[in-house]
Structure formats: structure tokens, C-alpha cells
């Protein structure tokens, strides 16, 4: 499923067509967003939300894709408003476009400000048809087995399925080297039944009264903090806010997702984490509701598998309860249905401002000099290395024809710095293949703030 979500994340970073000047009609599935594009010169600093209906979010009878879309657009507005308040000079620019196949993108970007070197908060809604090859790739074949269609052979029933992917993502790179970079993404992915089969006959699983009843769906997301200089209280505050937000819904979420985040944002070629972590989750769904025609199935509650580790056998499997060769999986401590998962994702999205704004406020006016700027450049370089070499969304995006490169690379900082044989972060650090013990260097780099930051990145810590 990770491949599927990468695909989705890509989509969320803007795949497919876009036009900046044409007025493109929304397709009949994407609803309230107005078909308007903004020219650069008269751009307002906030996207329009007056057409949105907030009560849709809590309407259990409304299709989830509209509820999630409403939520993320309102969240984007709240976040950009709050961030704008901390940026005195420069206004956010709003860039909005429609997609030819249905869907849209709304980017809010500011760069070269007084608080923000570069910050972006983007909505992406993508409609499309997921081809057979992509369906088969998902989840190593588990998804296509559970979708209850004949995909193989000459009498394959369908060769693609409609999908929608929508999400909100944000990256903030502050000017001040003591203020950390932060990133988040929250997304929803849905595959639905096509109205007709490959041979043109009506699809029995398609319900015209419920045309967007999902065949498969899941949430994904996460947020992580990438400081330039380490302030333990900032990391603790960030993690505590996330933990409290997740704990409202299940005490097992934060521990599993914190670990998943540490594993995901790891740079193997540097043997270090990108930052001090956060949470990361994918494939958040109730498998028992998939492929069900009756609306009643949406109420199904299940315990969820949260995290998989490598396949184990024998006595190691006994640690997971003598289950007999099953992989060790963290389980949710309660049963969940689609509503509780949507509430969870909303709690996580809503926790962004309380988790990050206090840190930004605390640090953004700290005095700094050239040395701090240089180290900031080095740390930004690591950020770039991760995003270009390992981040799945970026890699898929760049590989997809017709992709909107500007949005895919929005996460990259304005400036970055690579020094040959850097004494703290590179091979110039004594102890990395050198003769002396790690952590010992001469000069002003010894026991420095830079070294403290570097140490923390080497292995994940429990912050709360």
C-alpha cells in the first residue's frame, strides 16, 4: 500500500494537467470549488472559503471525499491566516488551478519574507483512473485480492478504476536558524467502482444511487520537525502535542506512528534521521468496509494493525503472543470505524498550529550570525538530500509525465549548503573513519551546539 500512497502523495503534489488561464469546468464529481484562476498581480493573500459548508464535515451521510475536501480547505485557510500573522512584510501568494480530468490545486506560498525564507501550504485534489498495473502494484497484491474483481486473464472484468486523491501539505523553512523547519501532510485516497465493465456491460457492483461508494479507501499523513539547532523543549512540546492529539482516539496510535516516522525519515547514506521525528502513518482504514455495497457496512468497527515489522518465526513470534509465525504488528487498543479514523486525522491536522506556532514564536527573533547561517545551510542540505533521494512522493512525482514540478519541489528550501569534509556533519568529523573517538574534535566545534544537533540525529529518541 505504500506504493499506492506514494502515488496518492504525488497526486496530492499535483500530477496531471493544469491550466492557469483557462476556465475549466469541474467534473460532476468534484463539487463546490469555483472554477476560477488567479492572475499573479491581483492575488489575494488567502484562498476563498465562503462557498464551503463546514457542517458537511460532520455529516455522516455525506461522501467522505467531500467531507475531507471541506476540512482540508478550511484547515489551509486557518493555517495560512495564522502564519501570515507572524510574517509582517510579505503576503502569501495564492495560486489556484483546475485539472482537466477533474480536481484542483490551491497553493499558498511565501518566500524571502522576514519570518519565512520559504513556506508553502498546498491543497491538491486529483481525480483519475487508476490503471490495472498500478492497482496490482498496490499493497503487494493485497488490494487487488480484496477488491473482488477479476483482474487477470483474457476475461478480466476491468482495466482501470476511478480514484480520487486529496490532501493538504505544508513545508515551512523559517529565516531564523534557531527556528526549526516543519512539514506535514494529511491525505485521503479512494478507489470507486466504474459504472461499466471492460466489455461495456453495466458493473453490478456500481450503485447509481451511490456512485462514489468506495471500493477501497484510506487515510495517510504525518508531520515531522527538522530543527537546525536542537532545543529539547521544542522537540518535547512538538511530540507531546501530537501524542495528546492522537491519544484522544487511541493510545496505540502515537507510539506506532512515532516509530514509523523515525524509520521513514532516515537517511541511509548518512546514517542519520532528517530531524527529530514526529508521526507518520499510511493505509489507515477499516479493511472490513471495503468492497461493500450496503451503506451499513460503513459502521463496521475493527481493531487495526498499525505497524508491521519484518516477518518473524519461532520464539521471536512468541513475543507477539505465540501467534505462530505471524509478523509483529502493533494493534490499535480500540476498535475503529471510518468516523473515528476521520476524527483522528482531523485531530492530527488541527494539532499542527498548537504544535508548531509556539516554537516559531519562541525562536524566530533569536539573534544569529554568519556561523549560524552556515550551519543552517548544511542542515537544509540534508533536507534536500532526503527529499530528492528517498522521499517517495517526490520520486513518484518527478517520474510521472505531465507533473507540476513547481509544486512537487515546493518542499525544497530557498538555499542550501554543502561543504566538503564538514567537521561536524560530514566526513571531516573525527571518528567517522578517523583514528580518534567520535565526538572529540579540536577547536570551537567540540561540544558545540552543532555537534549536539548532529548527535541527536544519529538515533531516534523518545521525546515524551
Amino acid at each position: 500500500m505504500a506504493a499506492a500512497s506514494a502515488l496518492a502523495a504525488t497526486a496530492v503534489l499535483a500530477v496531471a494537467w493544469c491550466t492557469r488561464s483557462a476556465l475549466v469546468a469541474c467534473d460532476d464529481l468534484a463539487q463546490p470549488a469555483p472554477s476560477k484562476t488567479q492572475a499573479q498581480s491581483d492575488s489575494p493573500s488567502l484562498p476563498s472559503i465562503s462557498h464551503l459548508n463546514p457542517s458537511l464535515i460532520d455529516d455522516v451521510n455525506a461522501p467522505m471525499r467531500y467531507r475531507m475536501e471541506t476540512y482540508i480547505k478550511l484547515l489551509q485557510h486557518r493555517i495560512v491566516t495564522a502564519l501570515q500573522k507572524t510574517e509582517p512584510g510579505t503576503k502569501f501568494i495564492v495560486d489556484q488551478w483546475q485539472r482537466k480530468e477533474g480536481g484542483e490545486g490551491i497553493s499558498c506560498i511565501v518566500q524571502d519574507g522576514q519570518t519565512f525564507e520559504k513556506a508553502g501550504c498546498n491543497i491538491s485534489v486529483v481525480h483519475g483512473k487508476l490503471p490495472l498495473g498500478a492497482i496490482k502494484q498496490m499493497n503487494s497484491g493485497r488490494i487487488n485480492a480484496r477488491l473482488d474483481y477479476r483482474f487477470e486473464g483474457p476475461d478480466a472484468e476491468i482495466d482501470s478504476m476511478p480514484f480520487v486523491a486529496l490532501g493538504l501539505s505544508l513545508v515551512v523553512h523559517p529565516v531564523n536558524p534557531f527556528a526549526p523547519t516543519v512539514h506535514f501532510n494529511y491525505r485521503y485516497f479512494e478507489i470507486s467502482h466504474p459504472p461499466t465493465l471492460k466489455d461495456g456491460s453495466p458493473n453490478p457492483r456500481y450503485d447509481p444511487a451511490n456512485p462514489t461508494q468506495p471500493a477501497a479507501w484510506w487515510f495517510g499523513g504525518g508531520t515531522d520537525l527538522t530543527p537546525i539547532y536542537l532545543f529539547e523543549e521544542d522537540a518535547k512540546h512538538f511530540h507531546a502535542t501530537l501524542r495528546d492529539a492522537a491519544a484522544q482516539h487511541d493510545s496505540a496510535f502515537y507510539p506506532a506512528w512515532k516509530r514509523w516516522c523515525d524509520e521513514y525519515f532516515w537517511l541511509p547514506h548518512r546514517s542519520e534521521n532528517r530531524g527529530v521525528g514526529g508521526v507518520f502513518f499510511d493505509d489507515l482504514t477499516v479493511p472490513g468496509t471495503w468492497g461493500q455495497a450496503e451503506g451499513k457496512r460503513r459502521e463496521k468497527k475493527e481493531f487495526l494493525a498499525l505497524l508491521e515489522t519484518k516477518q518473524q518465526s519461532g520464539p521471536a513470534a512468541a513475543a507477539s503472543g505465540g501467534a505462530g509465525l505471524a509478523p509483529a504488528i502493533a494493534s490499535s487498543s480500540r476498535q475503529h470505524d471510518v468516523e473515528s479514523l476521520f476524527r483522528t486525522v482531523r485531530s492530527m491536522g488541527d494539532s499542527f498550529l498548537p504544535s508548531y506556532l509556539p516554537i516559531l514564536e519562541r525562536r524566530r527573533q533569536t539573534p544569529y550570525d554568519a556561523r549560524h547561517i552556515a550551519w543552517q545551510g548544511i542542515r537544509r542540505g540534508r533536507y534536500v538530500e532526503f527529499n530528492l533521494a528517498y522521499d517517495r512522493g517526490t520520486k513518484f512525482g518527478l517520474a510521472t509525465p505531465g507533473a507540476r514540478i513547481e509544486s512537487i519541489l515546493m518542499s525544497l528550501p530557498l538555499k542550501a549548503r554543502w561543504e566538503y569534509m564538514h567537521p561536524v556533519s560530514g566526513s571531516g568529523a573525527i571518528g567517522r573513519g578517523g583514528a580518534t573517538a567520535p565526538g572529540e574534535h579540536s577547536g570551537d566545534m567540540a561540544d558545540s551546539e552543532e555537534e549536539k544537533m548532529q548527535q541527536v540525529l544519529r538515533s531516534p529518541r523518545e521525546w515524551v
Partner: protein, 452 residues
């Protein structure tokens, strides 16, 4: 080290003649039978010199070290009471060892052998060949996800009940050394057959949380301290994983863990050796198998392992009845559906009934038995240890741990299980895995088997 490993087999009893020497001889690229240690006028078997005229016969164990080169392997196949002392001496002298089970009946001694092997960077492998019984390999494969599709669930799902027995029909006792000594002397059925059952269980599921055992002298023909019947009930921790999608009960979480039953008796009345051997119940299916693995009988009949003229070694033959040859596998073809809450428009608020999964059943063949894999693995581990020897004992030990399947730490856990079973039976209570395995034997009560 490309040259074959020289091997000295200590003891020339039925085990050495059936299970050890034929395999050593069948793998000349890996092993070279260097010598056999057999006491003169030994009653354990015929004179070894008659069967192996060109092999050196060593009259006493102490003399083995003088002649066997290093690196070398000593296979300890002599009386049970010699297993631990001989193994300890051999390891201290720098030889790899294979030790017949039971390697000892004191947990502290088993731990000591593991410690010696670690310090010396040597292989110390208990002879748990039955991990390569064909029926056990079949059970293992049914509990594992399919090899070609590792993300699919296993045929049986999560194991909920595991029964494993070695039953015979011997209403008249055979006599012989096995039936003369009690547990404290290395005799009895619990140590003899319980070793295999315990090792297989621990291999599949690891150690239990607690167990309750009944160890008895059932036939009443042997000395009262000699057990010829036992039953061990074991309980495992509750699994934390929710049942996966497409499993019956998907999305729910089991409230209790695996229950296992190990047993052996001499009063199990069946023809054709079709006593029940395995019964495994899981969340998706079940498997039952009767009869025992055919390799022992084939070896005793003189058939050779790894013989290119004997392709069907390790498999049941046409003469074996189907009741023994095949196992009965039942699996679910779908997950069914749980009861759904009442539809408010349906009136009277009745819930819809659950739909139980449909099941399919068939008789399935048994995988071939592969005792040769045990020997191949021991040889590979010895080779790995010697290749790493230049890095010291630590490097050799790491190489052994990475290669050897039957580790001495596992053998120690086996012994612990059997000691705890004895303790449970003597004290008349359930015991936890975390308890002290050594029995606190009261004066005059050394030979008690059962609390009653």
C-alpha cells in the same frame, strides 16, 4: 576449510548405527568418519570393527582426544548419563559436538554447555533431527504464509490449539536401559520422546507462559520411578495482533492465546501405526496427521539417505496406508460476515445473523522428511566457525549463531520445559515458565513422579 570434517562417533548403539553413521558416510564432501569409540565387550550393539573394518575403533572416551584432529566433530551417542560430561569435555578440548538427546536433564548443565560453546566458538548441536520430520515440515509450512506470496495469510491462520503426540501400542514393556532409569538418571519417556515434542513446539511458538503436566507410570510394569506416559498442557500469551483482513473474525482481536498439548503413551491402541500425531487448529483452518515420519523405519530397514538410487527416501511408500501417508487439511474459503446491527427501517430492530465462513477439506500429502538437512547444517556451521576462527572465538561464535539451526540455547529451553513438566507433576500444580526449573527434591521423594 574445504576438506571434510573428521568425525568420531562415541557409542555404537542403535542411534549411532541408524541416525548418525549412515548420514556421515553419505556426505563425504562434508564429513569423514575418522573413528568410532566403542568399549570392548559393549552390549549396546555388535562390534563396530565388523561393520567398519577400516575405521579406527577407540576403546575409551579419554583416548578420543589423542587421535581426532582439530577442527573435528565428536558425535556423542553413548549412554544418557555420559551426554553432558562427554560434551563438556569435548568442548573444553576444542572439538565441535553433536549430542544425542537428552543432552542432560539439569537445566544448569544445559546452560553450561551453551556457555562453553560460546566461549570456545564451537558448534554444540543437540540431535533434534525431528525438526526435519516430514510431518513437522508440513505443519510448519501450513502455519507460514505461502513462500511465493509472503503477504498472504497462512493456510491455518493464527494457531489456537496445537496437539503433538508420540503414542505406541506396547501393552508389554520392552525392558532395556530406557525402561530401567528414572528422570533423575536420564531415563523415562518424558526425556526420551518429550525432548522431540518440546523442541518442535518451541521451534514453532517459542516458550509458553505456563504449563501443567501429568507424568505417570501407566503400565505398572516398570520400576515406579520410571515414567512411561506423560501429558503436558501449555498456555501461551494472548496475541496482540488483530486478525487480518479476509480472515474469519477479521478486525477482531483474540482474547486468549495458543493452548498446546504434548503427550506420549504406550497404551494407544491403533493398527498400522496410525496413532494421531498432530492436530493443529487455527483461525482459518485445521490440520490432522496420523502416524510417524517414515525415515526412522527406512533407515532401520537399511535404506540409505542421499542415495541417488533411492529417490523416494524420506517419503511414504505405496505400502503405507493412506491414513498415515496423508494429512487432513481444512481451510476456510471465505471470511464469512459478522452479525450486522439492526436496520432501523426493518422494524422490530432485529440484527442480521452472522454468515459463517464456508470450509473446504481434503487429504493432503506430506512433505518428505529431511534428516540430511540437520547434518548439512551442522557441517555448514562448523565450516563457518572455522572460516571465522582467525578473528578469535568471538568471531567463530558469531558465525555459528548465524548459521546453526539447532542452537544449544534452544536445547537448554527444551530441558527447562521438561524439568518444569516434572516439577508440575510432582508438586501437583501449574508452573510458570519463569520459575526455577530444578526440582527441590525432598528426602525419600526423589523417585516420585506424581503428587497424588
Amino acid at each position: 576449510m574445504a576438506s571434510p570434517i573428521p568425525v568420531c562417533v562415541v557409542g555404537y548403539g542403535s542411534s549411532a548405527r541408524t541416525f548418525h553413521i549412515p548420514y556421515i558416510l553419505s556426505m563425504p564432501h562434508l564429513f569423514r568418519l575418522h573413528s568410532i569409540q566403542q568399549r570392548p565387550n559393549s552390549t549396546s550393539g555388535p562390534p563396530a570393527s565388523k561393520d567398519h573394518p577400516e575405521i579406527a575403533i577407540i576403546p575409551s572416551f579419554d583416548e578420543v582426544f589423542a587421535s581426532l584432529p582439530k577442527p573435528g566433530l565428536i558425535v556423542i551417542s553413548s549412554a544418557n548419563s555420559t551426554h553432558y560430561p562427554f560434551a563438556a569435555q569435548a568442548l573444553q578440548a576444542g572439538y565441535h559436538v553433536v549430542v544425542e538427546k537428552p543432552i542432560t536433564w539439569r537445566h544448569s548443565e544445559a546452560l553450561h554447555l551453551a556457555q562453553l560453546a560460546k566461549e570456545q566458538g564451537l558448534v554444540c548441536a543437540s540431535f533434534n533431527n525431528r525438526r526435519w520430520d516430514g510431518d513437522f515440515l508440513t505443519v510448519q509450512s501450513l502455519l507460514n504464509p505461502p513462500a511465493s506470496k509472503p503477504d498472504q495469510p497462512s493456510a491455518l491462520g493464527t494457531a489456537t490449539y496445537f496437539e503433538s503426540r508420540f503414542d505406541r501400542f506396547r501393552p508389554w514393556s520392552k525392558g532395556g536401559w530406557r525402561e530401567e532409569s528414572g528422570f533423575n538418571e536420564g531415563g523415562g519417556l518424558l526425556l526420551d520422546l518429550g525432548s522431540h515434542l518440546a523442541d518442535q513446539l518451541l521451534t514453532l511458538f517459542g516458550p509458553p507462559s505456563h504449563l501443567t503436566a501429568f507424568v505417570r507410570n501407566q503400565r505398572g510394569q516398570l520400576a515406579p520411578r520410571v515414567d512411561d506416559d506423560f501429558m503436558i498442557l501449555l498456555s501461551y500469551p494472548t496475541p496482540s495482533n488483530p486478525l487480518p483482513p479476509s480472515s474469519p473474525g477479521s478486525g477482531t482481536r483474540l482474547g486468549s492465546g495458543l493452548r498446546a498439548l504434548l503427550g506420549a503413551t504406550c497404551l494407544s491402541t491403533h493398527v498400522d501405526g496410525e496413532q494421531p500425531r498432530f492436530r493443529v487448529e487455527g483461525t482459518r483452518g485445521s490440520y490432522e496427521k496420523r502416524g510417524v515420519d517414515p525415515q526412522e523405519a527406512q533407515l532401520k530397514a537399511g535404506r540409505k539417505p542421499n542415495d541417488s538410487n533411492d529417490e523416494s527416501f524420506g517419503m511414504y511408500g505405496t505400502e503405507d496406508p493412506d491414513s498415515v501417508k496423508l494429512g487432513r487439511l481444512t481451510t476456510s474459503t471465505d471470511a464469512g460476515q459478522e452479525a450486522m446491527p439492526a436496520d432501523p427501517t426493518a422494524g422490530r430492530g432485529k440484527a442480521t445473523a452472522p454468515v459463517q465462513p464456508r470450509l473446504a477439506t481434503s487429504d493432503v500429502p506430506t512433505l518428505p522428511g529431511r534428516y540430511d538437512v540437520y547434518w548439512q547444517n551442522v557441517g555448514d556451521a562448523i565450516r563457518a566457525a572455522e572460516a571465522a576462527r582467525s578473528g578469535g572465538a568471538e568471531a567463530a561464535h558469531a558465525a555459528v549463531q548465524a548459521t546453526l539451526e539447532v542452537k544449544p540455547e534452544q536445547a537448554a529451553d527444551c530441558i527447562k520445559l521438561l524439568c518444569l513438566a516434572r516439577k508440575s507433576s510432582v508438586e501437583g500444580r501449574s508452573v510458570r515458565w519463569t520459575e526455577e526449573p530444578e526440582l527441590d527434591v525432598k528426602e525419600g521423594k526423589e523417585n516420585v513422579l506424581y503428587w497424588d
